[in-house]
C-alpha cells in the first residue's frame, strides 16, 4: 500500500514554479529567508519516512520478529548514510533528538569522563569554548563551570573567526576539552576546525565541534580533520525536526559518560527507543546532501553575492558582519545603520528572516554573537540575518533586494539618527539620555 499525500513530485515544491503560475514577475509571498533557523523537509525525505509510521513501524530493539528486523535494517541504512556524509564509520554515529542534546551529551559526557585536576589544585579540568557559541554549548559550559570545571571563552576578533593560534594561546596543562562551532549560526563565519583538531590531537585533548550549520552544507572528513565529537541536526538540512546525531570517534576511542540511562540503545550512550521515522529522514537528508550540497552551495553563493553587492551599493551606511570570505555561502548578516532591525522586519513582512535586534528577543538584549565580535550595540540592533536555501530563486533575491532597499530608505526618513549623520554629527559623541 502506498500512502497518497501528494508528495509525488519534487517540482511541486520549488518556489520558482509556484510563483510563475500566479505572478509572472513577483515571487510567491511570503518568502522564506531563514534557513539557518530551520529548513523545509525535502519531499524525498518525507517519502522515505512514510512507510515507517504505518507499515514498518517496528521497534529496532525487538530482536525476534520481522517488524523489529525491518526497523533495525532501516536504522542501519540511515546510520551508514550519515556516516558516508561525514567520512565516519557507521558505528561512530549516535542518534539523538537534535543538536542541543548532542551538544549536552558531548560536553557533559566528555567533561565527566576526562575530568582531572592539576597537582595541588581542586579544579576538575579546563575546557575551551568561545563567546559566540550557540546557547546549547554556552549554557552546558556555564553549568560545568558551576560544577567545578574551569572554562575559557575565547573572544573572537571582529571578523568572528576563531583560529588555531587563539586556541593555542589559551591551552593549559589541564585542558581536557575544546568545543568550538564549525560555522556560526548568526553570521556564518567558519572557524579553523581542522587546524584546531590537529593542534589538540597532538596534545591528547578531546575536540568537539557543533556542526549544526556546517554538516550537510559543506564537506566534512572527521578522520582527516581530527574531530573527536561532532553534533549535527536533521532539520537544518531539509530533514525532519526532533532528530540529530553525535559523531563519537572510535580510533582513538573517545569515551563519554551517558546522560540518559535505560535500555542501553546507541551503544549505551543514549538509551531510549529509537526515533525510526526521524532517523530514516535524517539518513535520507544526508544522502541527498552528499549528492547535492556542492552544487547548491555554488548556486547560493552567487545569489548571496548578488544580494550583498546590491544592498551595499544601493544603500549607504550598510555593513556585512563577519569575515568577508570565511563564511557559509548561503548566509549573510547585514547591519543597516540608523534603522532598527525589528521595525525593518515589520516593513519587509513578506520576507521571513531574523534580526540581532533586542526587540525581537524576550531579553531586550541585542545579539551576543554580534557583540561578541565587536559589532557595537547600535549596529547589532540594526542587523538582519538572511539565510538562503535549496529552493531560493533569483526572483526571490531580486524581490528581497528591492523591498529591503525601499524600506531601509523609508525608515531612514523616520530616523533622527540618519538626520544627525547627514548633518555631520558624530553619534558617539552625543550625550544620550540614559533610560
Amino acid at each position: 500500500m502506498k500512502l497518497k499525500l501528494g508528495l509525488k513530485s519534487r517540482s511541486r515544491y520549488t518556489n520558482a514554479d509556484r510563483t510563475k503560475d500566479i505572478f509572472p514577475m513577483a515571487p510567491k509571498l511570503p518568502i522564506y529567508f531563514d534557513h539557518a533557523a530551520t529548513t523545509p523537509c525535502d519531499p524525498r525525505v518525507v517519502e522515505a519516512m512514510l512507510p515507517y509510521f504505518t507499515e514498518q513501524f517496528g521497534n529496532p530493539g525487538s530482536r525476534n520478529h520481522r517488524f523489529g528486523w525491518e526497523a533495525e535494517g532501516a536504522v542501519d541504512e540511515a546510520r551508514q548514510r550519515v556516516a558516508d556524509l561525514i567520512g565516519a564509520d557507521e558505528k561512530e554515529i549516535i542518534f539523538t533528538s537534535g543538536a542541543t542534546e548532542s551538544n549536552n551529551l558531548a560536553l557533559r559526557g566528555a567533561a565527566q569522563m576526562y575530568e582531572k585536576a592539576p597537582a595541588g589544585s581542586k579544579g576538575r579540568g579546563h575546557i575551551i569554548a568561545s563567546t559566540i557559541e550557540h546557547k546549547a554549548v554556552l549554557d552546558p559550559c556555564k553549568r560545568l563551570q558551576k560544577e567545578g570545571f574551569d572554562v575559557t571563552f575565547i573572544e573572537p576578533p571582529a571578523d568572528g573567526v576563531v583560529t588555531a593560534e587563539m586556541v593555542k594561546s589559551v591551552l593549559r596543562e589541564d585542558t581536557i576539552l575544546v568545543s568550538l562551532m564549525w560555522a556560526n549560526n548568526e553570521i556564518g563565519t567558519i572557524n579553523e576546525i581542522p587546524q584546531i583538531g590537529a593542534l589538540c590531537r597532538d596534545r591528547g585533548i578531546v575536540v568537539h565541534t557543533d556542526g549544526t550549520q556546517w554538516v550537510g552544507k559543506m564537506p566534512v572528513a572527521v578522520k582527516r580533520d581530527n574531530i573527536d565529537l561532532m553534533s549535527f541536526s536533521g532539520h537544518k538540512i531539509y530533514g525532519p525536526k526532533g532528530v540529530g546525531g553525535l559523531y563519537v570517534r572510535r580510533k582513538p576511542r573517545v569515551r563519554l559518560v551517558s546522560m540518559q540511562d535505560g535500555g542501553g540503545q546507541e551503544r549505551g550512550f543514549r538509551s531510549g527507543t529509537l526515533n525510526v521515522t526521524g532517523i530514516v529522514g535524517l539518513g535520507k537528508a544526508c544522502e541527498i546532501a552528499k549528492a547535492e550540497m556542492e552544487r547548491d552551495g555554488e548556486r547560493l553563493l552567487k545569489l548571496r553575492r548578488k544580494l550583498e553587492t546590491q544592498l551595499t551599493t544601493q544603500l549607504d551606511s550598510c555593513a556585512i558582519n563577519g569575515h568577508r570570505e570565511k563564511r557559509l555561502p548561503h548566509l549573510t548578516n547585514v547591519s543597516f545603520g540608523f534603522v532598527e532591525g525589528e521595525s525593518l522586519m515589520m516593513a519587509i513582512k513578506d520576507i521571513a528572516c531574523s534580526s540581532g535586534s533586542a526587540c525581537t528577543s524576550a531579553s531586550l538584549e541585542p545579539s551576543y554573537v554580534l557583540k561578541g565580535c565587536g559589532v557595537g550595540d547600535d549596529l547589532a540592533h540594526s542587523s538582519l540575518r538572511l539565510s538562503l536555501g535549496k529552493w531560493t530563486s533569483e526572483e526571490q533575491v531580486d524581490y528581497a533586494i528591492a523591498q529591503i532597499v525601499t524600506n531601509v530608505r523609508k525608515l531612514r526618513e523616520l530616523s533622527p539618527l540618519y538626520d544627525m549623520h547627514k548633518e555631520g554629527i558624530d553619534l558617539s559623541k552625543v550625550q544620550w539620555a540614559a533610560h
Partner: protein, 142 residues
C-alpha cells in the same frame, strides 16, 4: 511579534513625521521645543519637536522622528497627535499608561510608552527653558 491594529496603523502610516529644521536651527528658535530621548545602543531614539504659538501658549504643531521598533514608532506618532492643540500644562498630563492603553502595547514594549512620555516632557521643558518659563514640577517618577 504580533501587534494590534492600532500599532500597525501608526507604524504603516506614521503621523507628523519630520522636524522643523536641523539640530542647530532648533536651538536658535524660541517657538520650538525639542525632546530627544533614548540611545542608539539601547535600540530606541525618539525625537519630538513641538511648535508653540507664543501668543496663545498652545502647541500648534508637533513632529517626530524615531529610530526604534514598531511600538516605539507608533508611540511617538501617537504622541504628536495628542500634543497638537494642547496647552503646555495639558501636554504634561500625558502619561505613558494612556499610550499603553490606546495602542494595546504588549508588556515587553511598555518601555516605548515611557520613552514617548519622556520625549513629550523633555520637549515641553525645553520650550519653557528657552522662554524663561518656570519648569513644571515632576508629579511622578518611573
Amino acid at each position: 511579534m504580533a501587534y494590534g491594529p492600532k500599532i500597525i496603523d501608526h507604524y504603516e502610516n506614521p503621523r507628523n513625521v519630520g522636524n522643523f529644521g536641523t539640530q542647530a536651527e532648533m536651538k536658535a528658535r524660541p517657538d520650538i521645543g525639542v525632546g530627544l530621548v533614548g540611545a542608539p545602543e539601547c535600540g530606541d531614539v525618539m525625537q519630538l519637536q513641538i511648535k508653540v504659538n507664543q501668543r496663545t501658549g498652545r502647541i500648534e504643531d508637533a513632529k517626530f522622528k524615531c529610530f526604534g521598533c514598531g511600538s516605539a514608532i507608533a508611540s511617538s506618532s501617537l504622541a504628536t497627535e495628542w500634543l497638537k492643540g494642547r496647552t503646555l500644562d495639558e501636554g504634561m498630563e500625558i502619561r505613558n499608561q494612556q499610550i499603553v492603553e490606546e495602542l494595546s502595547l504588549p508588556p515587553v514594549k511598555i518601555h516605548c510608552s515611557v520613552l514617548a512620555e519622556d520625549a513629550i516632557h523633555k520637549a515641553i521643558e525645553d520650550y519653557k527653558k528657552k522662554n524663561g518659563l518656570p519648569a513644571t514640577e515632576e508629579a511622578h517618577a518611573h
